[in-house]
Amino acid sequence: MAAELRGVYLDHVTSASVVNLRTAPAALWAARSWRATAHALVGLPLGVVSFSLTGGLPIGAAYCAGWSLLYAAPDAWPMTAMFLLLTVVSPLPALWSVRGLTALQRRRFRMLLGVDIPPLPRPGDQSPPLPGDAPPPRPGNPLPPRPSDLLPPRSRDLLPPRVGDALPTRPGDVLPGRAVRAARAAGTWRQIAYHVLALFIGVAGGALTAAFWTVGIGLGLVVPMRLLGLWADEGWLPATAPAGVLAVAALLAAPWVARGVARTDTAVARALLGPSRNEQLTLRVESLARSRADVVAATDAERRRIERDLHDGAQQRLVSLAMNLGMARAGLADAPAPAREAIAAAHDEAVQALAELREFVRGLHPAVLDDRGLDAALSGIVARAPLPVRLTVAVPERCPPVIEAIAYFVVSEALTNIAKHASATRAEVTVGRTADRLRIVITDNGRGGATIGGRGGGVGGGSEGGGGTGLRGLAQRAASVDGTFALHSPVGGPTTITVELPCAR
């Protein structure tokens, strides 16, 4: 979307070069000059129509009403009333016709100048669903439903509402309702401003362009005819020499006048008919939020995929290997000692590798998280933590899978950090939900002094390095979904990490 916007903004009218006397005559037969001229000439009648429909009618009616109220005879009240009614009613067709007129003007710019005025943001286009958002369906499974099957469908939208949602066109829309919504929609008043201005730009620009061409071409025809004696001079034209100079000057200037008018009109139209700076930024933010959500979802999906691949591949093979070595170890009791020792060592290695791989894979994305939710998944981390951890989870309704995955990661990383750096003897993890936020609080009784960046170490960590990457990673993961991360770690402890994640349904 960004590239699209930038592309539209490349302005081929304003890229016109500075007038060069040697190349100036070439402008006379350049297509661009003639298109600019046509644009200016069409702009004149169109400006009149635009103004009449948007500004003229209401202003005229209001003027008449005012005049009637002030000067009309008392017995002319029906006329006064009619004018007043007209004053109230006439803006309605204006509001109604704004979009049509804008479309017409846009078409004029596109067809005659080749300039696309970027459209105002409109509702309608839907983004594709985020990947990895919903757990896979369970077709034709005869087993009893799991508790999580009974949960309401999870929300997938972490995104702000779309710009332009204020003006939906509903079927069965009645005219006044639509006009009211149009009047409240952002951009309508700027469009009306353009349609009012179009009269002045159209009249002035059209007249100026026409004048230069008329003088240039007209005098350019008159002067040779006069020289040939074909022109019956009536005395109101200038003498031949100045007329010749004037003709050449007007002719040379005409293309640039036409282009200047086109450039001015384009600038005004862009400012008033295109999205405002605010709207452009809103669009940009929306597109960034969308692409960021896609990236977060893709990362999550990738972790699940890697977990699944390792589970189905390497882990099964390692189990099989360890099992075979175990059988060999048990069965070869009477083998020579070196062989027995080698098998025993290989067996121990395989068991160790299996344990390490299991730790790693479960850290990626535990299957139980999708299945039974955060509460169930956190038991595993807490039980494996090398220090006693009190875990309290009170999340009555589940959050979107991406949020649950990040919450799991936050607790997992924070406990790892505490174990590494904090010199704590106990920790506490509390997960709760308030309205649409998931709140995770992790506390330890360690020595404190942790910082997010620099040499702060982990939670409760001192200055012995570690680079603070663990905590920074946590803050980044939280920020990736518009969550917040707060660290409170006075020297001497205790350290508290508070992470809040959006958990909209």
């Binding site: 757990p135 896979p136 369970r138 077709p139 034709g140 499974n141 005869p142 087993l143 009893p144 799991r146 699944r308 589970h311 189905d312 882990q315 099964q316 093979r317 189990v319 099989s320 360890a322 099992m323 075979n324 070595l325 175990g326 059988m327 170890r329 048990a330 069965g331 067996h347 395989a350 068991v351 299996l354 344990a355 299991r358 894979v361 479960r362 535990p366 299957a367 139980v368 999708d370 299945d371 039974r372 509460d375 169930a376 998944a377 038991s379 595993g380 807490v382 039980a383 494996r384 006693p388 951890v389 009190r390 875990l391």
Partner: protein
């Protein structure tokens, strides 16, 4: 001892079949998903079913749900669930029906052939076999506070009891005297305010009941 195996990995299915055959078990059928497992259990009525947790079609908790069905519909069939990871929540589900004739072990444990086969026989005979990892999770989840009053040695004994070990098993594992183990156990029962129990098995059940409520 008649056994049905449900495991979707061809490699492991073959490996487990061989392991059990060598260990004197009679593998009557080895299947690859939960539906086939339920059909095989209904047909063969084995002594024990060995079930993988993640199986087709969704590769999440098919094995647990199938195990629950077996425990409800075929009470005579003992179930041992195997998994790459153990989860306290699945254990709670498995123990919720009954605390006898059930096992929940990490797949890693099959590497220790003798112990694994012992656990399988214990479960088939109506005992329990919970992975130490599961027990750790159950302890963390369900009774964080009273456990702090237990000494490290007592916690160790509690863990072994929850895994399904008898007093003799605990004596072997900790290499301490019989009377020492008895002393630890009575101390645990006092601290956790559990009713006194005579036999090994009743003690194990009391601990499990305690951990899952």
């Amino acid at each position: 001892m008649r056994t049905v195996i449900a495991e979707d990995s061809v490699l492991l299915r073959a490996g487990l079949t061989r392991l059990l055959d060598d260990g004197g078990f009679d593998v009557v059928e080895a299947v690859s998903d939960a539906d086939q497992l339920l059909r095989a259990v209904e047909e063969h009525r084995p002594d024990v079913a060995l079930v993988d947790v993640r199986m087709p079609p969704t590769y999440t908790d098919e094995g647990i749900r199938a195990a629950l069905v077996i425990r409800q519909q075929f009470p005579a069939v003992a179930v041992v669930v195997l998994s790459q990871y153990v989860e306290e929540r699945y254990a709670t589900d498995l123990l919720s029906v009954r605390t006898t004739g059930v096992g929940y072990l990490l797949k890693d444990r099959v590497a220790h052939v003798t112990e694994f086969l012992d656990a399988l026989r214990r479960v088939a005979a109506g005992g329990t076999a919970l992975d130490p990892e599961v027990v750790a999770q159950l302890i963390v989840r369900h009774r964080p506070d009273p456990l702090e009053r237990l000494t490290p040695r007592e916690s160790e004994v509690l863990r072994l009891m929850a895994e399904g070990r008898s007093n003799n098993g605990i004596v072997d594992a900790l290499r301490v005297s019989h009377s020492a183990v008895e002393k630890y156990i009575s101390s645990i029962f006092t601290k956790l305010e559990l009713p006194a129990a005579e036999s090994d098995h009743r003690r194990v059940l009391a601990v499990l009941k305690f951990l899952r409520t």
